[in-house]
Every structure is written in C-alpha cells, then in structure tokens.
C-alpha cells in the first residue's frame, strides 16, 4: 500500500483512489453488482442442490401427470383422471370467476355508497360512514370466514328455502335451474344479441341528437324493449324453445340445475364489500374534487339533482377516481387467494394440493406468480386505456 505510483500532471494515484469520489463510486457499483449476482447465484445453486438432495428434478413435466383428486367447482371439463395442468387450469378459471364477479360488485357497491355518503340525509350518510370504516378496518380474511360461517348457518339442505320450488337456498349454496336449449333457442339468443347492438346504436344516436338539439331520448326504455321485450315475444312466437332443468330434492342433495357453492358466495361477498368500502372512499374523494361551482352552475341552469350528478359531476370525478381504482381491482384479485381458508378451489388451493402431491414446490409457486402477474398486467393495461379515454381532452 505504501508503493507510490508515478503521479504526473492529472495522473492517477492509486493510493489516493479511495479519496476520489468518482473512483469510489465505480468501485461500489462493481461491488454491488458482484454482490447481487453472487446472491442470485447462491440462491439458484442452493435450490438446485436441495432439489438434488431431495431426489427431485426441476421441470414442468409433472403437469402432464394424472391429478387423482377431485374439484367441486369446474368451469371446464375435469375429472380425477385429468392432468395436474388441467387441475391448475380449473383453479385459475375459478380465480378469474371470483375476481370478475368481485370487481363488478365492488364497483357497484362502491359507487352507490360513495354517493350516499355525500347525501344530505344525516342518517344515510352516517350509516354509510360507519359501514365503510368498519369494513375497511377489519382484515379481509376474517370477513371471508365471517361470511362463510353465515352461509353455514343457513337452513340445512333438507329444509332448503325455495322460491317457487325452482331456486333453492341452503347451507350448501344456491341451486338454480339450468337452461336446456332446444331447436329455435339459437334464434332467440341471436335476437338478444341484436337487441344489445341495436341499443348501443340508439344510445349513440340519442347522444348525438342531444348534443346537437338538446332534446333527450329515453334510451333506457328503448333498450329494455330491444333486449328483453322483443326476444320474449320471439320466444313465445317460436313455441317456447327453452326448457329448464329444475333441481329436485334427492336423498342427500338437490340434483339437477346448477349449483353455486357457499364458498364462492362467501368469498364473493367478502371481497366485494371489503374492496367496495375502499372504492366508496375513492368515489367520495373524486366527487369532492369536482369544484362546487360546477354543481351550482348546473343548478342555475335548472338541471335536476340526479342529472347534475350523472351528467356534470360523475364524468369529471371519474378522472380522479379511475387511477386509484386500478390498484383496488388488483388488490381484490390478489386477495382472492385467501380462498384457501374456506376451501374455495382457486388456483392457490388446487396448486397447493398439486404441490403437496408432487413435491414440485418452486414450479407451482412460479406458476402462481406468472398467473397473478399476467392477470394484474392485463387489468392495469385495460384501466390505463380507459383512463386515457376519459381524460380531459385539451384543445
């Protein structure tokens, strides 16, 4: 260290290197990169060694092995003779199902309660405030278990509550009649779809006309007629080509129709009320962010209160509301993995069973990660696109 390097004008003195901030920076950067690379190498090395020691081999080939276990809620064909990969697919679809249902319900709950909280009625706004604070501040896992216990406390299967002997409710869930499609039902379905398209066209036309002339058109009633009225007429005209498979009480359970498990209902209720409470606050903040002058101006023009809310305040509030909503949707999707606590067979629940049977822990966990990452990125990119669309257009 005492050795001196020749120090010419502007030359580099190795013994002084430590005091030169730039050199020190480079040294630290190199050390950091080496350190991180070293840690990564160690983790990979250690994992491979542990796998070898345990006699396991890394790879995704196990996905083609037979699963040998059953899943009670299947959106696609599955039996215990199917593969692990298919079991994981069934679980993934169950996660997507509860996430989509949850996002829809949470948005609805959030918007309604968010607006209600700003109500001038003291009782309404206070009740909503108490509900929001309570729901937001109790861990979602407890709420999931709470709703599950509520579901279990419903009448037993032999004393099911029924609605005209077609829809049944008991502590094994909800059982609905399922449709049986006969000849001609395709025509009715086509008419329904055409009704939806026609309603969209009418809506565009009505908006254009209102912008141009100020005259309104009852789009809601027209839509109802197009989507429900016309198909119902067609249904009877074609001789009722749709039959129902109505559940019947058998020795152990109701048979026939479609069943919605109490686990799905409990998870859905818990996730949508929990996230709904957060969305409620976002909506409230968004509405408050719209300047009061806007409301007053609308009032001065003689707009009714609900029209003011729908046409003036909410469109402006949406710009504030949408970005934080994205993270609420992502949270809801990720929280759905708590389903494992009540035995809803989502991707984590089925994956854990696979992990336990096959021992391929890292592979299964990596599949969870890829799945949730993909779902989250898709949600974000859609929300970003929507946010751009509703953003203030500056001219």
């Amino acid at each position: 260290m005492t050795e001196k390097a020749p120090s010419g004008a502007g030359g580099f003195d190795i013994s002084r290197a430590w005091t030169d901030e730039r050199v020190r920076g480079v040294i630290f950067q190199i050390a950091l990169v080496l350190g991180v690379a070293g840690l990564a190498a160690f983790i990979v090395n250690n994992t491979i060694a542990n796998y070898e020691e345990a006699g396991l081999s890394f790879g995704y080939g196990f996905l083609f092995d037979t699963a040998n276990f059953d899943i009670n809620q299947r959106l696609i064909e599955y039996a215990s003779t199917s593969t692990y990969g298919r079991a994981l697919g069934v679980g993934a679809l169950n996660t997507i199902l509860v996430a989509v249902m949850g996002v829809a319900a949470a948005t609805l709950i959030g918007f309604v309660t968010g607006v209600l909280r700003l109500s001038n009625n003291f009782l309404v706004s206070r009740t909503v405030a108490v509900w929001v604070e309570f729901t937001r501040n109790v861990p979602v896992l407890l709420q999931i278990i709470f709703w599950w216990l509520i579901m279990l406390a419903l009448p037993k299967v032999r004393d099911s509550l029924s609605l005209g002997e077609t829809v049944f409710l008991n502590n094994r869930g909800v059982r609905l009649p399922s449709p049986i499609f006969e000849d001609g039902s395709a025509i009715v379905l086509t008419i329904v779809l055409l009704g939806v398209v026609a309603t969209a066209v009418v809506r565009r036309w009505a908006k254009k006309r209102q912008d141009a002339t100020g005259r309104t058109f009852p789009v809601g009633w027209a839509g109802l007629g197009l989507i429900v009225g016309v198909p119902v007429m067609a249904y009877f005209a074609l001789g009722q080509p749709l039959d129902l498979d109505v559940p019947v009480q058998k020795r152990f359970n109701l048979q026939g129709g479609v069943s919605i498990t109490p686990e799905l209902v409990a998870l859905w209720l818990a996730l949508s009320t929990y996230t709904g409470a957060f969305i409620s606050e976002i909506v409230r903040a968004g509405i408050l962010a719209v300047s009061r002058g806007q409301t007053e101006a609308a009032g001065a023009l003689g707009l009714r209160r609900n029209l003011t809310m729908r046409e003036i305040v909410l469109p402006q509030a949406l710009r504030v509301i949408v970005p934080p909503m994205t993270s609420q949707y992502l949270n809801l999707t990720k929280n759905s993995s708590l389903a494992v606590a009540i035995g809803y067979q989502d991707i984590v629940s089925t994956g854990d069973t696979i992990l336990n049977q096959s021992g391929q822990a890292i592979e299964v966990i990596s599949l969870y990660m890829v799945f949730y990452l993909t779902l989250s990125l898709l949600t974000s990119s859609y929300m970003n696109w929507y946010n751009k669309r509703i953003a203030l257009v500056e001219r």
């Binding site: 690379a37 020691e53 345990a54 406390a153 094994r172 152990f252 336990n356 021992g359």
Partner: protein, 342 residues
C-alpha cells in the same frame, strides 16, 4: 453515503455466501444437540394423537413419540419444540429443515418415501380410511353415498383414496375440501356435508368431540391401507436410524415387559440378554447409534412402552376407545413387529 454502506454490506454478504454457503449433508443429530431441543412436527390438534391438556401442554400418542425421541437424544423428554402443521404444510416444513422429525399421523406411501425425498422410519399406527355420517341418513354402507357431499382434508392421501373409491364404484359426489380437522368438524357439524372421511382413528377421535356421539356412525367400509408413522428427511442415515430404533425400542419394550415403572430397575441388569442389550447393560448399541448407553431406557421412561402410550391416549379406556386390532403385537394377533435388538 448511507446507500454506499448498504451496497458494500450486500456485496460482502453475497461474496461470503458464495464462498461458504455450499449446502452439504447436514448431521441432524449434531444440530439437535447444538440446539438443545428437538423440533418435532405434529398435528394442529387431533384428540388422542396431538392435543393440549388442561395445563396447555401438548400431549397425545404422536406427541409421546417426540418426547421419547427427545429423551433418547437429549436426555430430557421436555426438550421438544412442537411445530403444528396442517396436511399441506407438513412436507415443506420437513424438507426445509424447520423440523427434525415429523410425527403427525402421516401415511407411508411410495411417492412420499421416494419422490418427495423422505424416509419413513416405521409404523406406529396401522390405520385405514373410513366414513362417518349421521345415523338419521339411514345409510348402511359407503357405496350408497351417490350424490352426497363429502368433507375431506386437502393435501392428504385420503383425498386421493376418496376420488379412487368413487371412481371405481362409479358414484357421483361433491367433494368439500377443508384445510384442518377442526374446520372439517365444523363444516360436518353444520351439515355442509353429509359424511366426513379421514383415517378411521381420526374419525373415532373427531366423533368424541360431537355433542351427541351416539347420533353418528362410522361406516363399515375401510377403503384404504393407511400405515401411519414418523418420518425424517432422506439422506441422513444416522438420524433415521436413531428415530427408527427409538420406535422399535418402544415396541420391543412392550414385547419384553419393560414398562415406565420397571425400566429403571431393569436397566441395572436382568436375566434377559436382549433387555440388557437394549437398555445398555450389555453390548454397545448406544454407541453404534451415536448416543450413550442409556438412550433406550430414557425413551421408555419418558412415556412408557408402546402399549402404555396406546392405552393412555387412544386405547379402550380413553375417550377414543380404539381397540388394538392390527396394532397388537404379532404374538397377540396383530402385525406390530420390531426387528430384534442384536
């Protein structure tokens, strides 16, 4: 500067890990001795097998084995750290070294023994999977369960046996997957499911916790073989030997009439050379295992021999009221058979 210090620390740590962190063959015995406590994986709660007594102390048939092993290795039956594990968490916990031995009514199967990388050290309870249901259902056999909802613990062999049983008999059913025995009990109690299936011993244990045990019946079908026993990680033969021969010592003690009460006296020497070898008076079996001479005597003194443990926690006079059945000694009509201490 703060950032640079942290960066430096990370770099050094990384380098150290690469240099010194290559995983080698861990000697579990040394680890246990160094820690001064045996980490034993047990159930989250199953009457008779692993439950807390009035004083909040873990006790039961599976727990007793942990205590015997701790007594053999560490000289004190209380030097055990119990880790409660579910059907799903038990294998990762053992594989990762969070526990030294798993004594949690676990079925010995080929894939667990070979593919998951564990070593089963013997069988401490020969069991089989059965069903429990309400007598009011009027069901006499599991084959009549077409269309029923069946509660099942996830991540267990019972889940697979159930699927096989219904597939073979071409019966449809609704599986209701549950994480722990306690939750399964709650779901069954609320009639979320018509029947609950698990190992017959577990059913007997769960039945005792119902308000009216007499209203429920265990169906006659036993649909699988479930040899339950403790297991350790594969690759440490010395530790597996210690665990195996501790269990064998408890069984042999019953065979030779060595009990919790007389083990201290017998350890001073008897006329039977096998007792003398086992209890360390003759030969050097303790040394072969890497333990001292009195290891087996201490293991037996901890909770008694196999029969004493069985009768105390799960036997005919306990609330579970299980008969010895297959779990009697081979000379009494069962299949319990320990290799000789020679």
């Amino acid at each position: 500067m703060k950032f640079k210090q942290i960066a430096g620390a990370v770099a050094v740590a990384g380098a150290l890990c690469v240099a010194g962190g290559m995983p080698g063959q861990a000697a579990t015995l040394d680890d246990v001795k160094a820690a001064g406590t045996l980490k034993c994986g047990i159930n989250t709660g199953l009457p008779g097998f692993a439950y807390t007594d009035d004083a909040g102390k873990w006790t039961g048939f599976d727990v007793a084995y942990c205590r015997a092993l701790a007594a053999a290795v560490l000289g004190d039956a209380n030097k055990v750290t119990f880790v409660n594990l579910t059907g799903k968490t038990r294998f990762p916990a053992l594989a990762a070294g969070e526990i030294d031995v798993l004594s949690r009514n676990t079925t010995w199967t080929l894939s667990r023994d070979v593919d998951l990388g564990f070593t089963f050290i013997g069988v401490n309870y020969y069991d089989g999977q059965g069903f429990i249901g309400r007598k009011a259902l009027g069901v006499k056999s599991a084959k009549e369960l077409g269309g029923a909802s069946v509660c099942i613990q996830t991540g267990t062999t019972t889940e697979l046996n159930l699927a096989d049983f219904f597939r073979i008999n071409k019966i449809k059913y609704e599986p209701v997957p549950i994480e722990t025995n306690a939750e399964a009990r709650a779901a069954y109690d609320a009639e979320r499911c018509d029947v609950y299936t698990t190992d017959a011993s577990g059913l007997a244990a769960t039945r005792t916790t119902f308000p009216k045990p007499g209203d429920h019946m265990v169906f006659p079908e036993i649909i699988s073989k479930e040899p339950l026993g403790p297991l350790v990680r594969q690759g440490d033969d010395q530790w597996a030997d210690i665990a195996r021969w501790t269990l064998n010592a408890l069984i042999t003690a019953e065979e030779l009439g060595v009990t919790q009460g007389n083990v201290a006296k017998m350890a001073e020497g008897t006329d039977n050379p096998e007792i003398n070898r086992m209890l360390g008076k003759e030969g050097s079996m303790g040394k072969m295992l890497g333990l001292d001479a009195n290891w087996a005597a201490r293991a037996i003194a901890a909770e008694g021999n196999y029969a004493e443990m069985f009768e105390r926690y799960i036997g005919a006079d306990s609330p579970l009221g299980l008969g010895r059945g297959l779990n009697a000694l081979y000379k009494d009509g069962g299949i319990l058979y320990s290799p000789p201490f020679r």
